[in-house]
Symmetry: C2
Subunit: 464 residues, 2 copies
Amino acid sequence: MARVEIKTLFDDVSAYQEQKVTVSGWVKTIRDSKALGFMELNDGSCFKNLQIVFEDNRIDNFKEVTKFNVGSAVTVTGDLVLTPQAKQPFEIHADSVVLEGASSNDYPLQKKRHSMEFLRSIAHLRPRANTFSAVFRVRSVAAFAIHKFFNERGFVYAHTPLITGSDCEGAGEMFRVTTLDAKNPPLCEDGSVDYSQDFFGKPTSLTVSGQLEAECMAMAFGKVYTFGPTFRAENSNTTRHAAEFWMIEPEIAFADLAQDMELARDMVKYVLAYVLEQCPDEMQFFNNFFDKGLIERLKALVDSEFAHVTYTEAIEILEQHKEQFDYPVYWGCDLQSEHERYLTEQVFKCPVFVTDYPKEIKAFYMRLNDDGKTVAAMDMLVPGIGELIGGSQREERLEVLEARIRELGMDPEDYSWYLDLRRFGGTKHAGFGLGFERMIMYITGVSNIRDVLPFPRTTGTAEY
Amino acid sequence: MARVEIKTLFDDVSAYQEQKVTVSGWVKTIRDSKALGFMELNDGSCFKNLQIVFEDNRIDNFKEVTKFNVGSAVTVTGDLVLTPQAKQPFEIHADSVVLEGASSNDYPLQKKRHSMEFLRSIAHLRPRANTFSAVFRVRSVAAFAIHKFFNERGFVYAHTPLITGSDCEGAGEMFRVTTLDAKNPPLCEDGSVDYSQDFFGKPTSLTVSGQLEAECMAMAFGKVYTFGPTFRAENSNTTRHAAEFWMIEPEIAFADLAQDMELARDMVKYVLAYVLEQCPDEMQFFNNFFDKGLIERLKALVDSEFAHVTYTEAIEILEQHKEQFDYPVYWGCDLQSEHERYLTEQVFKCPVFVTDYPKEIKAFYMRLNDDGKTVAAMDMLVPGIGELIGGSQREERLEVLEARIRELGMDPEDYSWYLDLRRFGGTKHAGFGLGFERMIMYITGVSNIRDVLPFPRTTGTAEY
């Protein structure tokens, strides 16, 4: 008899009621008394479990089944029976219970509350725990929402390279990628490492951003986005930093900062609405166990206006409340998380874009404003987390960009291909970056980045 | 006046006919005679160009516009006029032509045929050339088709890690990922490199496959897939190998090799049908300039039955034609590209699955058949290219898998987490791998992998 997925039953139970069905899945709980037993089965097709009732007078291996351990894989055939009086809407009365794969008494995921630390130590099994079943499904659904959003708007998905030989990213410490002998690398006559013998004939690293390559694509396709892994070799052992994480970076031509903000706002609203719609059980679980106000806050954001304030105005506001902050507030300072959250949570009580930051605290490629002091940058701040997105209009004026590169003591020659984009049909354009894990933490209420990545890589940890 | 994308005009010209519209884009060609000029504009929203007519008696900067170089970015406002007698269905009669970003006489992409080698040397500009405009849009559309296919079937998208500390992949040479000093790495007392001081506290590499981690996820979610970058540090300077490429790896629980083949067949048909439907202009371009039989062959595959032959039967067939081949054919040999193509093109004249290969030429995790000699592996061979997909049912029996690991001289202890999947509710399961670039080459007829990756990384090359 062909197997039916548990999600299919929950989606349309009327098509199966009072019929024989076959299901396969893993035993989440099992108990029995005398001649009657119950097990909850999950097959991964949805968050919900299916209750199986097995009776000694109906199946021929009752004794055996009562000894199945949690975690066992089984296939069950039986009658689907509606149970309108019970907690669950229906259950299966088993005619047969077949063991597909045994589990054992030392299965680490027994039915009890486990610490997140312990669950991290069994990352190969934790997707079976409720929390991670919910997190990784939301992650998958959110990823699809992002592709769907950009696809509906005609964006081209650009696969920018991860191994980079380019020196011009400069947004953090990088991992070296090499095939040279670790202990005795070949040396040049001057004693330096001879990278001409390395795989790519020069030093290479793992990228920290696909933006510059995405700009090349945007100057051909008009609207592009990247969605792929990114790396930082920063030795920061925090709950918000991972060495390997996923990032979304759209880039739009013939567009200014205002259009960039619209795009960022629309994307965030789209993804939140899509996850709320597609993952009601998972979101209810997070709302119950991680953050009581989660669903309400996300729904509010979907319907919310977004405020807009310039950095200069924001500093003026924050200076009036400087006694609230650990870090000093002054024009020219980088906004700290406490400042960002105060703005979005206390002052505006809604998501807010802060724009036009001092050029000194932003990247070289951001477009210089007419005041000569600020650049057309924007950060999106949201309640509960602070900065979710950072973006900017890019400097499209060749001579201004070259001057800025020189001003920062860098060599325009290293950026010749990037400058070519301004030499040949450069247009105004803009883009932003969204750390995918930060968004998943925001959506789920899970507070440690290690718990939204299936196999997290952080300082000192690269298991599996 | 709000800008309209060129694709929007082509999709529904009736909504715009005889109206004023504003378009922005890049000049692909420009010519003039006396008081009349023509330019073709492309804005990246579609493959088609838009014809602009500009006249001295209608725009106030005619002389200036005639001097615009190919590659310039412009914004044009004017009347949309239907041209049923002309090659193009409509054109814009300009009221104004504004230069957004100049180009110059030394713009490398002048209107002429360029060699693929030359275009590779300007990878930052080549997305603007017709070939790459078509290739990278098809790439994007095919990527979306893959996500859409798996999403519709309820698969969870699993982000498996790229940096791996696991030794157990063993499917090729790997890149080392490190933050240790390249010239003077810290050493242990025994003189070996002290990896405890490396970023992750041990040696790490770039992954060659996400399969083993995907299996962990499949044992929770039932059906998962990966789609992300993968790496090989193989020094093979061919048209088919890149050091960084994208791979799709689905993994399905409670499924055997037959279901795995069905999934592979359905996925390939779905992606081809989707690209043919979504990219008619691009596909016509490839059919005209790269492979005259391309569209016909792809359409045939979408409607085709897939043949199925065991390896043993395939060898018997090939042995009858051994004079055709450079490489010897005998039971136990690895099939070469010439053998694969002979089977699919000459013998079956349709796509064919070859299954049940000798265990010696396949990976340790493939399920041992009852004959003790072959494993439940499958390769999908397609006309014109040979192997497109390789997959297998995985060995779910703990003791068989452990024995195989020992037989190959490996240490089961190194695989303890992978073996745990068999200790705790292991079920029969299967999966496959599809190299995304190979599929794009198959779809487009482009014969060099360097031309289907936006910024290819190959031996000796990691520009941009």
